[in-house]
Subunit: 277 residues, 2 copies
C-alpha cells in the first residue's frame, strides 16, 4: 500500500464526492433476481450487481463477513470476488468482522484481512490495547467499536465506570490514544452508531482525529441530519454506512433493484455531502 | 443435534476421561514436517496429523479461525476438513472466533458456525445481551469472553464500575443470567484465563452453572494446579485448552512431533483429571 489509509480515504471522498459506505450483508434467500440462485456464486453475482448499480454514489463497500462465512469455503471465495469487484470499481473495502483476540491471534487476523485485500476492517476492543496494536501494524485502517447501534449495546458499553463516565467513553479515549499526536485524520477510526445522536458530539470531543464509521441510518432509525458532529473534523471524518436502505430499496419502491439502489444511495450521498459542506 | 451441548460434553468428558482441549492455531511456516508444505492443504494435513497423534488424550479441538482465514477460501476448506477429522476421531469442536455483532449479524454467525459443524463457539459480549441471544438459539455451546489471558485484558475487562467490582465480574453476571435457573451445567460457558488463578474462585462463585474454557496453560504461564476452582462444578465444568504446549512439544524434546504431542497432552490430561477427582 503506497499511502496511509486516512490519506487514501481523504482522496477518495474528495474525488467521488461521497461519504457513503455500501453495506453488503447478502442473505442467500433474498438476493436480487438477476443473481439467479441462492448459493455462493449467486451471492457473488448479487454483490457484483449491487456494486455496479449503486457503487457510483459510494466511496467504499462494507462486506459483513458473517454473511459470507455462512456459505463456507465457497462463501469466502464469493467474498474475495466481491472485494475484487469493488476495487475494480474504484471503491475502498472495509471488512466488517469485528475481530478481537490476544496479540498472536490478532496478528493472524491482520494477515487474513490483508490477504483478502481489505483497505480497513472493524475491530472489537474488549481484549485491550495489545489486541489492537497488531491490527494497526498492518498499515490498514482499523475501526474500533466504541458505541454500537443495537439496543443491547447499553448492557455493557453504557456501564458507568468508577472513574466517571460510561465504558464507551473510556473506549473512545483508548481510540484517541491509538490515534496519537498529529494533525489530520488518523488511520484508527471508531464505530459510533447513528441511532443515538447525543453520543456523536461527545464522541467527536474525545476522538478529534478519528474517522467515524456510522451504522444505523435508515432501517435502524438513524437520520443523516443528526450526523453533523461526525463531520466536524472534515468530510472524510464521517462515513455513513447503509445496506438494507440501499440494497432493499426496490422492495418499497417496486422499482428495478439497481435503479432503486442507485436512487437511495444518491439520496443519502447528497444529504451527507450538503450537511458537511 | 440430538442432545444439549452440556449433556454431550459431560458424556464425552466421562467417556474419554479428559478435560483437555487441543488448540489448533496452525502457522503455515511452522507445520509438522509430515504436512509436507506451507499451503492450505498442508495445514489440513498438519491438523489431521495432530488430531491423530494427540486426540486420544483430549475431549475436543479448538481451531483458531484466524489461522485458517489468513489462507482465504482454501483456508476455510482446510478448517472444514479439520472439523471433519475431529468428529471422525470422536472429538467435539469448539470454533474459536470470538464473534460478536448486532442481532441480525449474530444470527448469520450462528448459521456460519452451524454450517461448519462446530459443537460450540467462543463469543465476545461487548455488544450486550441481544448480540448473544441469537448464538444461544443455535442450540450449540457458547463460551462468552469474561476475563481473557492476555496482558492487555486489564485495560478494559478490569475497569472498576461505579456499581462496584470490575467489568469482567459484570460480564460474568451476564453469563450467569444467560445460564438461567436449573441444575447441572448450562450450554452457556465462559472463557476465563488460567494465567490469573485469583480470578477463578470468584468467577466460579458468580457463574455456578457455566463451563469454563481455560486458556493460558503452558506457553502463557498458567499452571494446571491452580485450576481447581474451575472444576468445583464437576469434571466437565473446566476445559483446559493447550495448543503450543502440545503441538510444539517436539521443539523442546527433540522428539517425534506426534509422540511428543501425545506425551504432552497425556501429561496435562492426568494433571487435570487427578486434580478434579
Amino acid at each position: 500500500l503506497s499511502e496511509r489509509f486516512a490519506q487514501r480515504l481523504g482522496e477518495a471522498v474528495a474525488q467521488r464526492e461521497s461519504q457513503i459506505v455500501l453495506g453488503l450483508d447478502p442473505d442467500p434467500s433474498a438476493l436480487w433476481p438477476e443473481a439467479g440462485g441462492a448459493d455462493a456464486p449467486a451471492v457473488a453475482r448479487h454483490c457484483r450487481a449491487v456494486i455496479a448499480a449503486a457503487g457510483g454514489a459510494c466511496v467504499a463497500i462494507k462486506p459483513q463477513l458473517a454473511c459470507f462465512e455462512r456459505l463456507g469455503a465457497a462463501g469466502w471465495a464469493a467474498l474475495e470476488e466481491t472485494v475484487a469487484a469493488a476495487h475494480e470499481a474504484g471503491l475502498l473495502v472495509i471488512a466488517d468482522g469485528k475481530r478481537g483476540d490476544v496479540p498472536v491471534t490478532a496478528t493472524a487476523y491482520a494477515q487474513a484481512l490483508a490477504a483478502l485485500g481489505a483497505d480497513a476492517f472493524t475491530a472489537n476492543p474488549l481484549l485491550g490495547r495489545d489486541s489492537l496494536e497488531p491490527l494497526l501494524a498492518s498499515e490498514r485502517g482499523v475501526f474500533v467499536l466504541v458505541r454500537t447501534s443495537n439496543p443491547g449495546a447499553a448492557d455493557v458499553q453504557d456501564l458507568e465506570l468508577a472513574s466517571g463516565g460510561p465504558l464507551w467513553e473510556r473506549l473512545a479515549r483508548l481510540v484517541d490514544e491509538l490515534c496519537g499526536e498529529g494533525a489530520g485524520l488518523a488511520d484508527v477510526g471508531a464505530v459510533v452508531g447513528a441511532t443515538r445522536p447525543e453520543h456523536l458530539q461527545r464522541a467527536r470531543e474525545l476522538m478529534p482525529r478519528a474517522v467515524f464509521l456510522l451504522p444505523g441510518v435508515g432501517a435502524q432509525g438513524g437520520r443523516v441530519e443528526d450526523l453533523a458532529p461526525a463531520f466536524a473534523a472534515g468530510r472524510a471524518a464521517g462515513l455513513v454506512t447503509a445496506s438494507r436502505a440501499i440494497v432493499g430499496a426496490y422492495r418499497e419502491d417496486g422499482d428495478d433493484p439497481g435503479a432503486a439502489a442507485l436512487a437511495a444511495a444518491e439520496h443519502l450521498r447528497e444529504a451527507a455531502w450538503s450537511l458537511s459542506a
